[in-house]
Symmetry: C2
Subunit: 290 residues, 2 copies
């Protein structure tokens, strides 16, 4: 992968407004694999140096999505041992390790979805916000279990519509609402299930803006809220809380007016006290049981 | 006003998605006045009977907006005494009383806005949701007082944009956000100020969907929330809670999909426990002081 191609890929990741953190993390690993496959470095040392520079740039590309950096750091640790391998073998191993990490991530997501679907069972109404690939997989497993879904659209880009489309294909009865109606429909839910872009060390959850409001409404109505997310999305203790990425206000399609600033922050933080539990690939962790 | 013209007016009120409850109540009174002005009834009894039928239809036109019915009932009580007046005099008096009631409503709104502006003072950041004519008047009075405003758009029709336009004209620095970002910006506010379509006997507030979420966020962040609304918007004890009007889901511009129902309920109810106080034309009523 040439420098020019890499810069284009990096920019695509920075401006991706629809993929979740796990999808982007895997895309970054794929870019790392392709970097090694199409490399002309004269030595293993230079190959790894070049790769590590790209990994650092990718790791910093989405500051609100800790898993992107987390998963790249795991890969970076993995390839350290390759320093003394012959060039061709080192390149091959890098590609293998990247693809194995992608596989492991997909398996974590799949196992998380299995655990979530078993926890939910059937005959329930599940409220979710926006789009999460883990949540979608959970619903796929639950499609025959007589569940109903309520999904809020998630302005400005309304990723909830994407989820509604997939649910429609699975013939799952779905209610699609504006984010503002969350408080009106929460009482119809048996359980709230949300994905996570990042889980903070204290179990607070960074996710699509509006998740915090959904959690407040769930709490006020005594509806349990579970976060459904792979373990590698959690930050290590002592980590700095990722910044909340501010995107282009023009995405709202609001009026352009003097003295008026349109804000467009994609993520909010739901404090741990509003989270009943965390469903991950190992099972269900109780956070604040109701 | 012919029957045909009346039906058109009634339909316009039913389908009005931008005017607040007070504006619509005044429009109904104006229709009552015009009914009397252009009437060919042969007797006072028949004039009043015809008028009362129209008033009943107008009073039922917006079930989520108690003031529409409230203000028409006040007018209906007022004109009872005209039964024994000669026809021409009765008609004239009806018109006068309707216009006086409109004037009284406008004065209540103005006095409410004066009380709210004095309560707020200056150098504050005020968070509001959607569009309310009482809140707009309050901001007009505060325009020179170095206030800042945060306003959430209020999907699906984004009446918040209308407020932002007016604030822009007054050169008030304004932050415009999606409803989903309410939890991100609440901490920047000193006070939350919202209008009301209806105030229930226990001081719970029916207002544009999303108000309840804003109140939850304000409560969780220890920011006081005041409702700014004329007294006639409160329902009498023992009244039935008005229905929450469900509008056309197509207003969301979401995808049309099998198994997916798009819901579009315009109003939600904020329980009194989340309301710090009620500012009306008499002053400030403490509801649940923080």
């Amino acid at each position: 992968m040439t420098d020019q191609e890499f810069v284009a890929e990096l920019e695509a990741i920075r401006s991706d407004r629809t993929s979740g953190a796990a999808e982007l993390a895997r895309r970054c690993l794929e870019i790392a694999a392709e970097t090694c496959q199409q490399d002309n470095s004269p030595s293993t040392r230079e190959l790894l140096a070049r790769l590590n520079i790209r990994i650092d740039q990718l790791a910093q590309s989405r500051p609100s999505m800790a898993p992107v950096a987390n998963i790249l750091r795991i890969f970076q640790e993995d390839i350290k041992e390759l320093t003394h391998f012959p060039l061709e073998e080192a390149g091959k191993q890098c590609v293998n390790k990247a693809r194995q990490t992608i596989e492991a991530s997909l398996k974590s997501t799949q196992k998380t979805a299995v655990n979530a679907s078993e926890f939910i069972g059937g005959n329930r109404t599940v409220f979710t916000h926006s789009y999460s690939s883990t949540i979608l997989q959970t619903f796929t497993l639950l499609a025959e279990n007589e569940i109903k879904v309520i999904v809020s659209e998630a302005r400005p880009l309304c990723e909830g519509y994407r989820l509604a489309e997939k649910l429609s294909q699975m013939k799952i009865p779905t209610t699609l609402i504006t984010d503002a109606q969350t408080g009106l429909f929460i009482a119809e839910a048996d359980i709230v299930l949300v994905g996570a872009d990042t889980i903070l060390p204290d179990f607070s959850v960074m996710n699509k803006a509006g998740t915090y409001l959904l959690a407040l409404a769930a709490h006020d109505n005594n509806i349990p809220l579970y976060v459904c997310s792979e373990k590698y999305k959690q930050l290590q203790p002592g980590s700095i809380t990722p910044e909340l990425e501010a995107m282009d206000g023009a995405e709202l399609n609001g009026p352009e007016l003097p003295f008026v600033t349109i804000e467009n922050i994609y993520f909010d933080i739901t404090p741990a006290k509003f989270i009943t539990g965390w469903i991950n690939e190992d099972g269900v962790v109780q956070v604040h049981p109701r």
